[in-house]
């Protein structure tokens, strides 16, 4: 389909989209990673999320938090990729899990933190994506249950029951990963 020419661009809207990209790129990136998108596909998946963001930007109420809205889109993109993937999910690469910000703790603590993160990712990978999503959104990102319900398009009670089930499985998976480093 043809592109609108540059003369039709309105700078405020363009700036708003650019702003949300700049501010939330990292959030979308880590959300997709935690939802199981393989490292080598992360850039494509982030791109797809922002394509949909652009498509639906008219639905976005700038007076409300953007992250639940973004999470919902990222969840659908990750689910779509998961449905279409034919191979086994590839967990985050060790070097990515090992990466930490500069100025971090000692090498021993660094290694322990990396191992802990690897356990989290492996445990998340054991969960169905709908349960994984509530753990990521609620327990990792700190969104409220109503925000989770809104993002995932499910009733609030479903969020609570799904979170309860997800936590049981997640804890079991973490324990199992601790016995099999």
């Amino acid at each position: 389909v043809y592109l609108a020419p540059a003369t039709t661009a309105t700078e405020p809207g363009r700036a708003a989209f650019r702003d949300i990209y700049e501010q939330e790129f990292a959030y979308v990136w880590r959300t997709l990673r935690r939802l199981g998108v393989a490292t080598g596909e992360l850039e494509d998946a982030v791109h797809d999320v922002f394509v949909v963001v652009h498509r639906r930007f008219d639905d976005f109420d700038a007076a409300r938090p953007s992250r639940p809205w973004l999470f919902g889109i990222a969840y659908r993109v990750a689910s779509d990729r998961r449905r279409r993937a034919t191979g086994v999910e590839i967990p985050a690469r060790d070097d990515e899990v090992l990466a930490v910000a500069d100025g971090g703790p000692s090498p021993e603590a660094h290694l322990a933190a990396a191992q802990a993160r690897r356990r989290v990712h492996r445990a998340l990978a054991e969960l169905p994506i709908d349960q994984r999503a509530v753990i990521v959104m609620h327990d990792l990102e700190g969104h409220s249950a109503p925000e989770v319900a809104e993002a995932l398009g499910v009733p609030l009670n479903t969020v609570y029951s799904r979170l309860r089930l997800a936590r049981v499985k997640f804890v079991a998976a973490v324990r199992a990963s601790g016995t099999h480093p």
Binding site: V1, Y2, L3, A4, P5, A6, T8, A9, T10, P12, G13, R14, A16, F17, R18, Y21, F25, A26, R30, L42, E43, D44, V46, H47, F50, V51, V52, H54, R55, F57, D58, D59, F60, D61, A63, R64, W69, G72, I73, R76, D80, R81, R84, A99, V100, A101, A113, R117, H121, D139, L140, A145, E150, G153, Y160, L163, R164, R167, F170, V174
Partner: protein, 217 residues
Amino acid sequence: MSERPADDLPGDVIALLSLERQASPPPEDARGRVAQRLGLTGAPLAPATSPPLPPWWRSAALGAAVLAIAGAAGAGTWFATRPPDVRVTAPVEQPRPAPAVPALPVPPERAPPERAPPARRPPRPARAETEVALLGRARQALADEDPRRALALLRLHERGWPDGELVQEREVLTIQALVRAGSSKAARARAARFLALFPGSTLADTVGQLMRQLERD
């Protein structure tokens, strides 16, 4: 259940989650690469390459927030020139699945006059291809003056994502491909259905203009 995150979890698991929250940020070069694909770098943003279009189509496209879907290989840009308007006071409409568009028969397309269709393999969905990538390939087929291939790819999208996030974009691409293939009657039917299904769409103006032009032809 309390709203505080992770309060029902054992202490050691909470500690693990806390470490995960401190994970490193994504690489800056990735941020730049994706921005480039979205057309967010540089100004003004250059439109993606597009085949020559008849003047009436060009005018129909003006003012529309249409799409430039980046292909699977990253060619082209999505966010081109017309940004969305931020609606601050309107009621929030949460992300939702688009309505599935019922199948509409598409007649066999005629080859464009004075141009033999290039011999190409029938399109197939790439493994784990996303709807963005598939529509990107359809758009590229249009850019390559191959509306039949574009229609074949769009049918794949229709089968794979009947209620996809980009169903409206698929429909507009389909109308355009039908026009290019010389199937005016099917294009009109498709355009009418689009306007009936998505009267409030940001693409409705474009489709409406296209439909009026088709009626005049």
